[in-house]
């Protein structure tokens, strides 16, 4: 409820569409990839240090975490195919012997498959999110604000509290 209220607040606020879109895109990477890994630490650093919308990041992380469950086998197979590819063996061997390679855990099939997939998807999700946020603000924001459920959320203590903190 609180997270949803924050999302509505962010969508309706004057936050830059890029900030929100970056939050969604980075949340997608976080959600599709395994939690334990160097990439997760890097994502957290980016989200916290740069002005990325945290609410968008958290919502996207939750949604893509759920999506990753049925996709995990496919992502793992992709990673395995890449790791076992004859032409890439020399690259993997060099990486395997390096500290950064070991820390990245690239030799884990699901990590590699999901990370590469999410990196490929990243620009598409980023741009699509930005467009959707812009479209939402231009065409639907006023209409959505009239929904009873939205008015109920806006009237809740949570929303009032976030509004107060945010202003």
């Amino acid at each position: 409820m609180g997270l949803l209220a924050k999302l509505f607040k962010a969508l309706n606020s004057d936050s830059s569409p890029w900030q929100l879109a970056l939050g969604f895109a980075l949340g997608m990477v976080m959600g599709l990839t395994p939690l334990l890994g160097l990439h997760s630490l890097l994502l957290l650093f980016i989200v916290l240090f740069f002005r990325v919308n945290v609410t968008g990041f958290l919502v996207s992380w939750a949604v893509f975490s759920l999506l990753s469950i049925p996709l995990s086998m496919m992502l793992s197979n992709l990673g395995e195919a890449l790791l076992l590819n004859e032409g890439l063996q020399s690259v993997w061997s060099v990486l395997y012997s390096s500290y950064i390679g070991q820390l990245s855990q690239f030799y884990h099939t699901l990590t590699l498959g999901s990370l590469l997939t999410s990196i490929v998807l990243f620009p598409f999700i980023l741009i699509a999110s930005k467009k959707l946020i812009e479209q939402y603000r231009q065409r639907f924001m006023q209409w959505v604000n009239q929904w009873r459920v939205v008015q109920f959320i806006k009237g809740s203590n949570f929303y009032q509290l976030y509004q107060a903190i945010g202003s």
């Binding site: 630490l41 916290l48 740069f50 061997s93 820390l103 884990h108």
Partner: protein, 583 residues
């Protein structure tokens, strides 16, 4: 325009990192304890207890205190117990998933120590029959001589079978060959025809030429018969050579069987079958456990590899390994010192280069024990090395222990027989090797200055007890076999013979009658066979003699020549021609 960075976020990031690090450090000891207990329990299949874990950062090291590994075969005892295991670990290679331990010290190791409480067993060990179960039970009903003969693997039976086999193998061939030999009439006919051809006065050259042709044909026939005789002689010689030693073996087999079986008639066969193992097996097995402790350490290392690979096939991706160029094995203990506690003595073993990837390291694990300063023994030397690779394990070790003082050792504690070694001196040498999972080797254990106190409760066990009480020295030979984690030790000595002799000197009237019956029945088994086969051999010898005579006659026949007659006729013709020319 707002800045694209936010400093509070950076602070939050580092606070979060700090919290994670602090949590790891606070709970590190507990997590290590949990992980170590779980992994060791997976390996051994029984409860593992670690009292506490400590760590230090400079140098980075971990110490596990009071480790107890429950013996799954006997949950009230520990398979392995150590006061502490301390390891100094290189941190940098850990990032490359390489566990490099500079120095490992395992102190206060005890094998087979008692536990405070029964340990849980997670994986039931395979059943092993107790070697000492049901020995010297109440005497069974005495077997009849016929039963003993039927159940025992007799040399007599084997010798009879072997003799029959030789007879069957040659008999038919020899009979056929003998039947094909030239008869006496044939030889007489040859002689008559040769005489007729050589003694005729040939005036007509045409008749002479015909006689020459017939003579040549006759010679060919005689040569064929000569070949038959030679072949027959060769076959007889071969049969004789094969049958003679079998007949010799057949003659001595009943005596050998009697020697083997007489102790069975005199006493309980099962009880004296392997008395060395029954009396000394348990104790020697325990000593061997110490001597071969190195192989027990290798075992879990080999088995753990397989288990890790199985776990990697689980859901949520796989870990793929690549040839790394770091030239470091995944696990490498550069130097280790293991202190094994035995009675009041500490046996310290030194290890170098412990790993399971010797191909990567390029040198074997070497271990040694060299202890000469002890109140319990004069000297103890143990050396060995091992090499584990993808193709399997190879290891070897040798030991030499001299002058180990033994005292108050319980040997057998059975209802019918109790035996205790009050004092003695033990010396042992031996070697063992490991190839793949198969262990092989041998050793000898010399026991001297023995003082054994044994007590029996029936006639049989009284004799065994008396023999043990009189025993002053004994050499036990040990054969080591089996596989890692499931060693198969067998023991032999002349104790069985000593007890067998003691039993024979105490036979009663009934047993003496049986012994006589045994001797008689064994001799009877061979009597017929020896008679038949001797007759057969005699027959073959007669045939050989006949063949010799015939061969001699044939050789004489072949010496006869028609050339003289031809030459004489030629001379006569020449003379006639000269007379006509010269007028």
């Amino acid at each position: 325009m707002k800045s694209i960075i936010r400093l509070p976020g950076l602070i939050a990031f580092f606070v979060m990192l700090g919290l994670m690090a602090a949590t790891s450090i606070i709970f590190m000891d507990y997590w290590i304890k949990l992980v170590a207990e779980k992994s060791l329990a997976n390996t051994t299949g029984a409860e593992v207890n670690i009292a506490s874990v400590e760590h230090s950062f400079s140098p980075f090291g971990i110490t596990l205190n009071n480790i107890q590994l429950t013996d799954p075969k006997a949950p009230l005892t520990n398979q392995f117990e150590a006061e502490s295991v301390a390891a100094n670990i290189d941190l940098a290679p850990l990032l490359l998933r390489k566990l490099i331990i500079d120095d490992l010290t395992i102190s206060g190791v005890q094998l087979g120590s008692l536990r405070d409480s029964k340990g849980d067993v997670y994986r039931e060990p395979s059943e092993e029959l107790s070697q000492v179960a049901n020995i010297f039970a109440d005497a069974k009903e005495m077997l009849s001589v016929d039963d003993i003969l039927a159940k025992s693997p007799l040399k007599t039976t084997k010798a009879i079978e072997a003799t029959q086999a030789v007879y069957i193998k040659h008999s038919e061939t020899l009979q056929q060959q003998y039947a094909a030999l030239p008869a006496k009439d044939t030889l007489a006919d040859y002689q008559k025809r040769i005489k007729a051809l050589t003694e005729t006065d040939y005036k007509d050259p045409i008749k002479l030429a015909a006689a020459k042709k017939e003579f040549d044909k006759l010679q060919q026939e005689i040569l064929k018969d000569k070949k038959r005789l030679n072949d027959f002689k060769q076959s007889v010689g071969q049969a004789k050579n094969e049958l003679s030693p079998q007949l010799m073996a057949l003659k001595v087999a009943p005596g050998q069987d009697y020697e083997q079986l007489k102790s069975l008639v005199a006493g309980d066969a099962d009880a004296i079958k392997d008395v060395t193992t029954l009396v000394f097996g348990e104790q020697v097995g325990e000593w061997s456990q110490y001597a071969l402790a190195a192989f027990d350490i290798v075992g879990p290392m080999l088995k753990t590899q397989g288990q890790i690979e199985e776990q990697q096939l689980a859901y949520a991706g796989k870990w793929i390994s690549f040839d790394d160029t770091s030239a470091l094995p995944d696990l490498w203990i550069k130097k280790a010192q293991i202190s094994l506690q035995w009675q009041q003595e500490n046996i310290i073993s030194h290890w170098q280069d412990i790993t399971h990837q010797h191909d990567v390291l390029g040198r074997p694990t070497v271990f040694s024990v060299n202890s000469s300063k002890s109140s319990l023994w004069q000297s103890l030397i143990l050396n060995g090395d091992l090499w584990l690779s993808q193709s399997g394990a190879k290891a070897k070790q040798s030991w030499a222990l001299s002058g180990l003082k033994l005292s108050e050792l319980n040997l057998v504690s059975q209802e019918k027989l109790t035996s205790q070694l009050n004092s003695g001196l033990l010396s042992s040498t031996g070697k063992a090797s490991l190839n793949g999972e198969a262990v092989s080797g041998d050793g000898s254990i010399d026991l001297k200055r023995l003082i054994i106190k044994a007590t029996g409760t029936n006639k049989m066990t009284n004799i065994v007890a008396d023999t043990l009480n009189q025993l002053k020295s004994l050499t036990i030979n040990t054969d080591i076999g089996g596989t890692i984690g499931n060693l198969d030790l067998s023991f032999s000595s002349d104790l069985n013979k000593q007890i067998g002799s003691a039993l024979l000197s105490n036979v009663g009237a009934e047993q003496q009658t049986k012994l006589n019956e045994l001797k008689q029945k064994l001799n009877k088994k061979t009597e017929g066979m020896l008679g038949d086969n001797n007759h057969q051999l005699s027959q073959w010898l007669v045939w050989e003699k006949v063949a010799d005579g015939d061969l001699s006659s044939i050789n004489d026949l072949l010496e006869a020549k028609l050339n003289n007659v031809i030459d004489e006729t030629k001379d006569k013709l020449k003379k006639k021609l000269f007379d006509k020319f010269l007028g």
